[in-house]
């Protein structure tokens, strides 16, 4: 069977999980790391077993565990500590079956660590892979969905003891989940996508946990975290951050759109515009489209090499704009429909 993620492995894994993580808050990441470090070593200090989906018996029940909602909210309202376990146990009760392994929804910062915390707390293995190969804002935007799996039934455990079980059609999970997360204070831990290991092996982006553990080794290049390729679009100085008060459109996404305007610091000195809505969706350089979702677009601070979140962008920051190629499945017709420009209301 697999390998163990011990404290040392946790350090490499979490470092790798931040290389292209957007929307991660420094505060919530720190607490997720400290929380993970305190549970990974418990129970004799063995660590968490890492397994490939194919190594599990085909009928093993697997569930995806993730943070739902806002990292700012998690950093402000701390977890009680039992949320991952409460969410998973609620799904077990609903399904009348024990869970045999935990898998991540995505592996960006806190979202990489929370399934690890769940696995450690429940004494279960963590599956080597995830459901996006990057981050998307919506719980449905996963390769699990593309493979025909439903996020529901889904259990949510909030920081004040809330527990909510959602049962609905696969395409309405987010719609129901968001107001519940909000009512719980802005964040909750979700256990979702219950599926057999045999199915999981078919629908996940494989090997991404061990990939990030390698990419998080000291001295490893950042590109090691981008198995499908990464390019630097440009380096620029942020000139302006423009908020919108909504656009009254049909689209239902959390939060509000933001535009970030940069002036390229070298080369063509183009005016570069980032259109963001929780994540960066689109990059225009002198008016021409140069990158869009489903590829992942990141601002990396030239000062410290850290990812700059959309809601931390401010005039005067110098950043590199990097584009991480999405897993091939996102560039199929179905993948584009779920995670491409149209999915975000961009008629490109």
């Amino acid at each position: 069977m697999g390998r163990l993620i011990d404290l040392d492995g946790l350090g490499r894994f979490s470092a790798g999980s931040r290389l292209f993580a957007t929307g991660a808050g420094q505060s919530s990441y720190n607490l997720a790391y400290d929380w993970a470090a305190s549970v990974v070593g418990q129970g004799g200090g063995q660590g968490v077993e890492l397994v490939a989906a194919g190594e599990l018996a085909a009928g093993t029940l697997c569930v995806a565990v993730s943070l739902a909602g806002s990292t700012t909210a998690l950093g402000e309202q701390l977890p009680a500590g039992d949320e991952p376990e409460r969410a998973v146990r609620a799904l077990e009760r609903r399904l009348g079956e024990r869970v045999g392994a935990v898998v991540a929804l995505n592996l960006a910062a806190e979202n990489a660590l929370i399934p690890l915390i769940a696995a450690a707390g429940l004494g279960l293995p963590l599956v080597d892979g995830d459901g996006t190969g990057r981050v998307f804002p919506l719980v449905e935007q996963t390769t699990y969905t593309l493979g025909g799996m439903s996020a529901a039934p889904l259990a949510l455990a909030g920081g004040s003891g809330e527990l909510v079980l959602l049962e609905t059609a696969a395409d309405r999970v987010e719609e129901l989940l968001r107001p519940v997360v909000l009512a719980a204070g802005g964040w909750a831990v979700a256990a979702c996508y219950p599926m057999a290991a045999g199915d999981l092996a078919r629908v996940l982006v494989p090997g991404t946990v061990s990939l990030l553990m390698r990419a998080g080794e000291p001295g490893a290049p950042r590109s090691a975290a981008a198995p499908y390729g990464v390019r630097t679009l440009c380096r620029g100085l942020i000139q302006a951050v423009e908020g919108s008060t909504g656009h009254g459109g049909e689209l239902a996404l959390p939060s509000l759109p933001t535009s970030i305007v940069l002036r390229e610091s070298e080369g063509l000195r183009r005016m570069v515009r980032l259109e963001a809505h929780n994540e960066i969706l689109l990059v225009l350089a002198d008016g021409a489209v140069v990158a869009t979702v489903p590829d992942q677009i990141c601002m990396i601070s030239t000062a410290d090499g850290m990812v700059v979140d959309v809601d931390k962008a401010e005039p005067g920051l110098e950043v590199d704009i990097m584009v991480v190629k999405a897993a091939p499945v996102w560039h199929t017709a179905e993948g584009l429909a779920l995670g491409g420009p149209h999915a975000f209301g961009l008629a490109l």
């Binding site: 305190s38 701390l78 500590g81 939060s255």
Partner: protein, 332 residues
């Protein structure tokens, strides 16, 4: 004449600044005639007081609890979510018990959600003040940024630095009687001595920031230091060779170049443009008030920067607001 002062391991270094040109050294008698003194000090290694930390919020894993070293800490029920909802009523009795029995006077209070709503921190402060008349209380909402543990760590450090900051401010006042004193901030700019006593954390790396500022001015900003020997100028340091100026002198010079500055950070809930404009006005007013408290002449205070970002993955109407205000020192 503006006096720049760098405090360090050795005796203080003082420079006299007129029209951007610094003279070093300065006679003690002359120093006492300065229009204002700008003090650069790093608080990294100074003596800290044991702190009584009160966190208002729910139970959490032990690894995420308050870190106070030799002090005392408690978690009491209460606080608010980032959406402004009350999580639980404040456990006033637990606050009273802890304040009465901890035996300490330097308090740091951090409530969940205080960047959005500071009610519970203010309520805790009132209870502590009634229970411990000599208490010095730092409230984390004054720092304003989200991230409970980081804000709490800063509030605890601010409280721990309080007594030593008071001692430093007293010493400067004794050494320079009648000279209004300012202290250099970690991020550039100055605050009044009164502000420094309350928020020493703001000046935690004041000497390092002043040194960077002084060096930058000398190496290209048109700044000059004349090194005097007795009353005669024996060497003039030109911009080409700034390395000849000792660190302490450059830091003292950099401090003297600063202006009062203050920051306000908040999370605000505003549904619609009109309400957002109103909360931004409030944040601006608060920043202006704060920079005046930091020693700016009231008529000179102005807003230098305002940043408004919608918070990701939260509903419409939640924004992170940061305001920087600056002004001219009222003294000199």
């Amino acid at each position: 004449m503006i006096l720049g002062v760098a405090l360090g391991e050795a005796a203080p270094t003082m420079v006299a600044v007129d029209d951007g040109t610094a003279t070093w050294p300065v006679a003690r008698g002359a120093a006492r005639h300065a229009s204002r003194a700008c003090v650069a000090v790093d608080l990294g290694g100074v003596r800290t007081a044991p702190v009584a930390a009160i966190r208002v919020g729910g139970p959490c894993p032990e690894a995420l609890g308050p870190v106070v070293g030799s002090g005392a800490a408690t978690i009491v029920r209460g606080g608010h979510s980032v959406t402004g909802r009350r999580l639980a009523p404040l456990d006033t009795e637990a606050v009273r018990r802890f304040a009465a029995t901890c035996g300490l006077v330097d308090f740091a209070v951090t409530a969940t959600g205080s960047p959005i709503l500071a009610d519970h921190e203010l309520e805790v402060a009132a209870i502590v003040a009634a229970e411990v008349p000599r208490a010095r209380i730092t409230l984390s909402y004054e720092f304003g940024y989200p991230g409970l543990r980081e804000r709490e760590a800063d509030a605890i450090r601010n409280a721990a630095l309080g007594p030593e900051a008071g001692r430093i401010a007293d010493e400067v006042a004794r050494e320079l009687p009648g000279v209004p004193a300012y202290f250099a901030r970690s991020g550039g700019g100055l605050v009044s001595a009164h502000y420094f006593r309350r928020f020493p954390l703001t000046c935690d790396r004041g000497a390092a920031a002043s040194l960077a500022r002084g060096r930058a001015a000398l190496s290209g900003g048109g700044g000059r230091v004349e090194i005097a020997d007795g009353a005669e100028v024996s060497a003039e340091v030109s911009a080409e060779v700034p390395v000849e100026v000792p660190d302490g002198v450059a830091a003292a010079y950099g401090a003297a170049l600063g202006r009062p500055e203050a920051h306000v950070e908040r999370i605000v809930l505003a549904r619609g443009r009109a309400e957002l404009d109103r909360v931004l006005r409030d944040a601006r007013d608060e920043a202006l008030t704060r920079v005046v408290s930091a020693g700016a002449a009231p008529g000179s205070a102005g807003i230098e920067e305002i940043t408004v970002n919608p918070l990701s993955y939260l509903p419409d109407g939640l924004y992170r607001v940061r305001v920087t205000a600056g002004g001219r020192p009222w003294a000199g």
